[in-house]
Symmetry: C2
Subunit: 310 residues, 2 copies
Amino acid sequence: MKCRVCREPAVIDVRRQNANYCRDHFLRMCRDQVAKAIAEFDMLRPGERVLVAVSGGKDSLACWHLLRELGYEADGFVIGLGIGEYSDESTQYARDFAEQRGLTLHYCNLREEHGFDVPTAAKATRRVPCSACGLSKRHLFDAAAREHGYDVVATGHNLDDEAAVLFGNVLRWQTDYLGRQLPVLPGENGFPRKVKPLVRLGERETAAYCVLTGIDYIVEECPMAEGNKHLGYKAALNEIELESPGSKHDFYFGFLKRASARFASDVESQHRELSACTRCGAPTPEDVCAFCKLVERSRGHEPVTLRARR
Amino acid sequence: MKCRVCREPAVIDVRRQNANYCRDHFLRMCRDQVAKAIAEFDMLRPGERVLVAVSGGKDSLACWHLLRELGYEADGFVIGLGIGEYSDESTQYARDFAEQRGLTLHYCNLREEHGFDVPTAAKATRRVPCSACGLSKRHLFDAAAREHGYDVVATGHNLDDEAAVLFGNVLRWQTDYLGRQLPVLPGENGFPRKVKPLVRLGERETAAYCVLTGIDYIVEECPMAEGNKHLGYKAALNEIELESPGSKHDFYFGFLKRASARFASDVESQHRELSACTRCGAPTPEDVCAFCKLVERSRGHEPVTLRARR
């Protein structure tokens, strides 16, 4: 197995590209793919300040690292979600990453600052935890960007993530979600631009990127995500990819190229008038934003303690 | 386990409907679903003559049986495709079905009438056998409908088939295929209307329908289809369906309702002018139709003999 570029011994194969790479050319390939995604979708412009949504997992840390490597002024933001030891450990990985590299990491603890955590919110809302978690993260990243003057929020969503989300949206033909499943959402109405610089990298590549650059990250999946549909969609697409390498890439980028625009007019938020939330000031179509409603619903609840399953 | 309708002991559960049925009410449910599909998509009108594309498998025989049960004037057409013993056996099932019920079954043998068979065509064209097979079947069904004066060709595609084909089309965003993946294709330019009356039934139900009505059918899958992508797509969707019963139904009917029309303008054949094939007279956008080209390419080839794998 030889490197596609230099013919020296390779350390990794990327079946989708039908290519093998040595360490250095693999890392260069990753940088090139991120640079290509940024250019292709006009994600970032020189001089913009980027806030990276960091979880402590491989994707968000690789994203932060790659943006710095490419010369962007990128700081991090991590949230203590209160998902037992998992949250403590993953936050620590983010802190260590920042500290070792002298980078700025903003931090927010859901319980300390807003009086609830994800397990409690899930119980209070009687919905899957990923729902309250996603809502909280989106809100807090947006608010942090506004507060600290960042132009853009970058997330570590990789090709596998985007393909699985697309599969879920297509299985139910959720036309509004399809209309806004883009690698860039423009900043408007007080929301920062959202970008996904890793959409051209698979999750096996982001993991390898971390290993080969010495980035320590939390390896476990979130314990509350277990058994969620997203993981089932990933598994189904993995089977397809195994038979036909490149399927995920073609599925996602074929969508962007040939289908996405057909659903653009269905995006609900486009048709809404926004005003400031009467509690927190965030832009919202109603009087009180969804996050402040979640805060209210969750606060009255007895905290839920996650038991370790080790 | 009790019948949803009469509370007598049930013989089958249909998880998608969250329902169990006794024999009689299951058969009635199948008829109702077919009647509903026919009405919903305006597939057939009273007095029209229907030619059922019969393979000898569960779906096409159930389709024929159900159309007769619903009072349609439906005859069958089976093709000897030359796929070794599989073709001989499946054709025999079709013949027995017709004979036992005094129905008209048209027959065409590819090798005797056109000088080739599917395995040979696959070798000659160096493509997957399903490609030459599908092309031949479509051509011969259309030609038989014209020759014998049928208004409509009905095929036994069930919900599982359509969902798997849709998945394949969506994975590659083949917008022209998506634009014409409909349960009814209108008859025009010398082509008969094409209808799929079983789109509201899963393949487990068509199998149960045959068993419960005493229809003998060939159980084996076509040996040449082994390992094709379609079967991989079915397996992936089966996993999803197992977790969330009704997923296939929502995927397919959600597509028809909310997405299909967005791809209608991409259908290539709409933009083509057709004239009669100079060899066989079939409508074609070129001088010679694709089937006659296949005949020509395959005839020069030494026949391929399939070896039994028992």
